[in-house]
Every structure is written in C-alpha cells, then in structure tokens.
C-alpha cells in the first residue's frame, strides 16, 4: 500500500498510527497490529530525511520493529499478545480522547454561543480587600521569569554550537569525494556528535555555509518547491 502522507500533519507517533489503522477500515479493536507495524515502518522509511521526524517517531518505529520480529516468531506468543493488547489499548484510548476533544469543542462556548452577564455597579462584591492574583498568575509569572533566564543560557552555551566554518568543512569533505552529482544538502550533516541540543545549530551552520559557497560560485543550490529537499552540486564538477 502506498500513502501520500506528510508527517507534519500528525500530532505524534500515536496519531500517525491511529490514522494508519483507520485505513484498515475495520473496528479499531480488531486491527491487525502486524499490518499496522508494516505500514508505520514503511511510512517512517519514506520520511526518514524529513527534518520534522522527531525522536518519538523513531522510538515508536523501533518498538514496532521489535514487535514485528516477535510476531513472526511462533514461540513467544504470550508475551507478544500482551504487547499487542497494550498497543491496541493505547490506540483505543487515544482515539477516545480525540473523539472527546472534538465533542468538547463542539459544545456551546462562552463568547460564541452565550456570554455571562453582570451589571455595572459602582460596587464590587468581595468580602476582603485582596489582590486579584490567582495561582495560575503566579505560576505563569515565574515561568516567564525563568524563560528569560533560559534564553540567556542558550547565548552563553557556545561550546556546544557549530559555526559556519564547521558547515564549510562538511560541504568540502563531501564535494571532494563526489563533485559530479546532485546531493541532498542535509546528507552532509555529521553522523556523529549530534544531540538534540546542537542539531539545530548544525543545520543552521550547514545552511549558512551552503549559501556562502553558492555566493562564492563554488556550488549550485536547487529546491523544487517548499519543503522539498534542498539539493547541492559542485560547480567545478
């Protein structure tokens, strides 16, 4: 089966699984987990180089690959059944939550379907003179203060970050090996030493370096349309 789906439309791996399972067109309690695992893994393979494919999708993929391997072995039936049931329950649960989310937001809402009214008086009802500060206000205020502090930390934390020079060296290393064909820009990202923290800076460094090289007349850049792969090719080749 082939699906022309975009990962960015999903709320996470469970959401994707749920959507795939609905394509089986059976009651959610009766879906084939093996078929679902195959569809999911197939989908992930096709989207592997999509930058929005975050770690949680890969964690689910490895779990499904594991489950699939177990399903193909006949001797570990009980253990597999438990895993299957657990996954199926999670899907049923998440599906219920999605249904309820829709139902809640279909309820009449204040400001759309009704408004609460009060008359304007010169007095207000209150037993004590107290500031109108709620627990939510307090937490949000503290959250605001710490967010500012985190921004500062990112600026200081330079040792973790990659520079445009790093990006240049990745591009040059690659083009020295192959200077005749079009290559995906982000395949130049180093495979090692990338974690969640510095990945963004690596992408930025590589992107800036590619613009710089194009400017220098060293490489050509091509992207067919929005969100398509950015391709690069050496001009000397």
């Amino acid at each position: 089966m082939h699906f022309n789906l975009n990962i960015s439309g999903y709320e996470g791996p469970l959401d994707l699984l749920l959507d795939l399972s609905k394509k089986q067109k059976v009651d959610i309690k009766k879906i084939s987990i093996l078929e679902l695992a195959n569809q999911y893994l197939d989908f992930i393979n096709k989207n592997l180089d999509n930058l929005k494919l975050s770690a949680d999708y890969l964690v689910m993929a490895s779990f499904l690959a594991f489950l699939k391997s177990k399903l193909l072995l006949p001797d570990e039936k009980e253990e597999v059944e438990l895993l299957e049931e657990d996954l199926s329950n999670r899907l049923i649960h998440y599906n219920a939550i999605k249904t309820l989310t829709k139902k809640i937001f279909k309820l009449p809402q204040e400001g759309n379907d009704f408004i609460s009214v009060r008359i304007n008086n010169e007095f207000k009802i209150s037993n004590k003179i107290v500031p109108e500060a709620s627990l939510q206000d307090l937490i949000l205020k503290y959250s605001e203060i710490t967010k500012k502090k985190n921004t500062m930390k990112v600026l200081i934390d330079e040792l973790e970050q990659f520079t445009i020079e790093d990006g240049l060296s990745w591009i040059k290393n690659f083009l020295n090996v192959d200077n005749t064909s079009w290559l995906s820009l982000f395949s130049f990202l180093p495979k090692k030493n990338l974690n969640d923290k510095n990945k963004k800076s690596a992408i930025l460094a590589l992107f800036q370096a590619s613009l710089d090289q194009a400017n220098q007349g060293e490489i050509e850049i091509n992207q067919n349309s929005h969100f398509q792969k950015i391709m690069v090719k050496s001009k000397n080749g």
């Binding site: 709320e11 996470g12 791996p13 469970l14 959401d15 699984l17 959610i28 949680d56 689910m60 329950n89 999670r90 049923i92 649960h93 998440y94 599906n95 219920a96 939550i97 999605k98 249904t99 309820l100 989310t101 139902k103 809640i104 937001f105 309820l107 009449p108 809402q109 204040e110 400001g111 759309n112 379907d113 009704f114 408004i115 609460s116 009214v117 009060r118 008359i119 008086n121 007095f123 207000k124 009802i125 037993n127 709620s134 627990l135 939510q136 937490i139 949000l140 959250s143």
Partner: protein, 174 residues
C-alpha cells in the same frame, strides 16, 4: 428583611459579582439580615429565569452566575471576545486533563504518545482552564493537574460530570 427582599438581594448580588459568586459568600452577606433558606431562594430564581433571555447557571451547584440563553446565540451575534485558537496539542491535553483529573504530565504524555510542551500548559493556565492540584504521592511526587472553574464556565457545563462521553473511554478508565 422579608423573603421577597432576600431573594431580590441574592439576585442583585449575583448580577453584580465579577466572577461566579459562591454560595458561601451569598450566605455570609445574607446572614446579617435574617434567617433564610438560601437554596430555596436560589431555586426560585433559577425558575424565574428559566425561559427568559438571561438564565441563572451554576457550577457544581456552588458558584452562581447569569448568562445569556443559548437559544439566542445566533441572534446575539456576539463579538465581545472571540475564543482564541488553541493548538491541537492544547485541546487534546485539555481533554485528557478533564477526563483523567487529577493527572500528571507524564500520564498525559503517555496517552498522547508525545511530550507536552511547557507552552501548552502555560496556554491552558493563562485561560484559567486548568490549575495544579497537589502532588501524586509516588516517587518524584509529580504535580497533578485538574480543570478549573473557568473551563466549566466557558463550555457552559454545570459539572465535570456533564462532559460528553464515549464508551471506549469508560471501558478503559472505569
């Protein structure tokens, strides 16, 4: 003060309060003027306003406020405050909190299969739709989240029990 006057006072108090007015606050004020059956007075008011353009509503039979009748929504063409657009993540998080409360963030993440970002909770907090409610007495003592009064008020619910239901969820959590 006679009963009719007491009822009028309760009515005026509820109409004048900024927020849904708690029955305790009303009782406290009323107690200075005599002994009254407050529940009966409120029932009377509820009944008086049943088929008017304005209805008396309660949250959990504890907090009272007046609002326009739902039947008039289409005609009122309300433009005062438009509900702002919430992300799908925020809406699902809200749904999970409302059905599973009190619930920890880790539990929400497990149900959604995805991390809950701080901005999502901040958003719901600033709407006063959720609030923290003590900690779960498990390792790490995680904070639990519950819905707040404004959530019920916004969706015109008089109790958390009035939330829509689906069979699948009942069979899983009950």
């Amino acid at each position: 003060m006679d009963e009719k006057q007491a009822k009028n006072l309760v009515e005026a108090l509820i109409f004048s309060a900024e927020e849904p007015l708690s029955i305790e606050s009303i009782r406290k004020i009323l107690s200075s003027y005599g002994k009254f059956n407050l529940e009966k007075l409120i029932d009377g008011l509820e009944n008086d306003y049943k088929s008017r353009g304005i209805n008396l509503h309660s949250i959990e039979k504890k907090n009272y406020y007046f609002r326009t009748s739902e039947d008039l929504g289409v005609f009122l063409n309300i433009q005062t405050k438009k509900t702002r657009n919430l992300s799908q993540a925020a809406m699902e998080t809200l749904a999970i909190i409302s059905y599973h409360q009190p619930v920890t963030r880790a539990e929400i993440e497990k149900i959604r299969g995805k991390p809950v970002f701080r901005g999502t909770l901040d958003n719901l907090l600033s709407l006063k739709w959720i609030k923290p409610a003590g900690r779960r007495e498990t390792p790490g003592r995680p904070v639990t989240w519950v819905t707040d009064l404004e959530f019920l008020k916004h969706f015109g619910l008089s109790s958390i029990k009035d939330l829509p239901k689906v069979d699948e969820l009942e069979s899983i959590i009950m």
